[in-house]
Structures are given as structure tokens and as C-alpha cells.
Subunit: 159 residues, 2 copies
């Protein structure tokens, strides 16, 4: 059972403000504020997917394979921003669970084409629902307009 924790205090990895402590002018640094918000995002993701052994990165991989059937592992690693060996690991993981499969690529005997299996597709649909619902909860403190603004500004940053 991995889910049993003593739960004294917040679990490591989540960032909670400690009362009566000065944070200097960390809040002036965009990078720091970004990081805090992003960790909260991971937190929300994990809450939304408890019981399912999926991670943000693996979820992203599924979405991308779904959106680009026949994708090559190299291309996937590029999209994920990892080394090729990293894509291997993800794809192995997906294949082991019957969520994706490698098929021969006629045009290139070195590479595989990646595809979601029906099982993978339905799992992804379910995940999409959860993640979307969670996004709403996560951003509940923001109005719809604020949420849109936020996404827009973040998009400009990462562009």
C-alpha cells in the first residue's frame, strides 16, 4: 500500500507556506511564482488520477500519440523534450499495459509507428474527463476570464 502516510504535516513535494517565515523577495521572481503554481498543478493532477498509475509525462505521451498516429519514438521524445531513451521507457510502459502498440513502419525499417490501442483510447478519454474536471477545480479561484488570460500569458512566455 503506497497510499498510507502518517500525514503529519503536508506531504513532501507539495509547497505550503510556513507561517511566520519570511520568503524574502522570492515572490518578485517570476520563476519562483511559476514553480509554485506548477507544483500545485502536479498536485492537482495526482489528486485527479489517484489509483491510476499515470504521470503528467505519460499522460502527455498518450495525448500526443493519439493526436499523431504512427508517430515515431524519436518524434515523441522530441515532443516530450526528453532523450530518446526516455521515450523508450514511456512506450514500454504504455505497451506493457496494453495502452499503446508499436507497429512496423513500411517506409522505414528502423523505426516503429506508435498507436494507441482501443484500450488506450478509452483510458485516454477517461483521463481527459478527469483532467478537465480537475483543471476546473484547480483553477476555481479564477474566473473564466482570468483563466483565459492566464493561459494566454503563459503561452507567450513558453512560446
Amino acid at each position: 500500500m503506497k497510499t498510507n502516510r502518517k500525514a503529519r504535516g503536508p506531504r513532501p513535494g507539495s509547497i505550503v507556506r510556513v507561517a511566520g517565515l519570511s520568503y524574502g523577495d522570492l515572490d518578485e521572481h517570476l520563476g519562483y511564482v511559476l514553480r509554485r503554481a506548477q507544483l500545485a498543478g502536479f498536485d492537482a493532477f495526482h489528486r485527479a488520477t489517484t489509483g491510476i498509475d499515470v504521470s503528467p509525462a505519460r499522460y502527455t505521451a498518450m495525448v500526443i500519440v493519439r493526436a499523431n498516429p504512427g508517430l515515431t519514438q524519436s518524434a515523441l521524445s522530441g515532443a516530450l523534450g526528453t532523450a530518446r531513451s526516455g521515450a523508450m521507457t514511456v512506450v514500454d510502459w504504455l505497451e506493457d499495459r496494453g495502452l499503446a502498440e508499436r507497429r512496423n513502419l513500411p517506409r522505414d525499417a528502423r523505426a516503429w509507428g506508435l498507436y494507441l490501442t482501443p484500450r488506450g483510447e478509452s483510458m485516454l478519454r477517461s483521463l481527459n474527463r478527469k483532467v478537465r474536471a480537475n483543471d476546473a477545480r484547480f483553477a476555481a479561484r479564477l474566473t473564466a476570464a482570468e483563466r483565459a488570460t492566464l493561459k494566454m500569458l503563459l503561452g507567450k512566455l513558453a512560446g
Copy 2:
């Protein structure tokens, strides 16, 4: 020499859009957009501090120790959101480089009080300058007003 890379393609860890690839509706997910922006932030941090062997987390630790002289390691771990053993590692690292020191706490014989050394203080000042300048460059695609809005919205999220 750690800095030598073949530099074919972007370095792993940074996220760059792959042309001609569909990202599904990943951009609808606040978590994903956040993550991308945050990775860009790390990237910017690393660029701003090349040659100096510091990380965002270690920088944060320095700021917090500076702002709370005599801080205890437990308190630091709380502020960093890591386990106590993690704070140990950071403090060891800082101490090894003469940037911080542990002093006896009169009021509690179990704990140490953490302090930046003069060397640590000057290093932090220098880092602050670099990070601040970098923040400006990083957020250059945003107007001052947009930057303020962004920080405000992120703050609401992570609150």
C-alpha cells in the same frame, strides 16, 4: 568539462515545439501550459547562472536563510517543501562551499541555527542581480502590466 555538448537539436529537458506535430488539446489544459512555462523558467535560470553550480532550489534556500537568520533545518525543509533529509543535503552543499554555516542554538541543543556567511551574502547579492536581470529578459515578451497580472493570477492559483 560538463558544458560540452554536441548541441544537435535542443538539449533534453527543455521543451521546444516540434514543427508539424499535433499536440491535441494539451494547450487547453492549464497544468500543461503551466508546466511548459515553468520549464522555460528553469531554462532561463540556468542560462542566467551558467558557470555557477547553483540550482533553483539551492538559490531559494539561500534566499530563505538570508531572510530568516538562525533558521532551523526543519523549518527550511518546510519552506522548501522537501523532507528534512533534503534540507540536510542543501545545507551540506552550502556549507561545503563556505556560503552558509550552522551555529549552535542556545535555546535548543538538538537544532542548528543557519546563517549565510559573508561569502554567502555576497554570492546571493550577485545571484539576485543575475536572476532579476534574467527575469526581465525571460518575461520580455510581456508588458509590465501583463507581468503583474501574471504574477497575481499565479499567486491566486498557488495560494
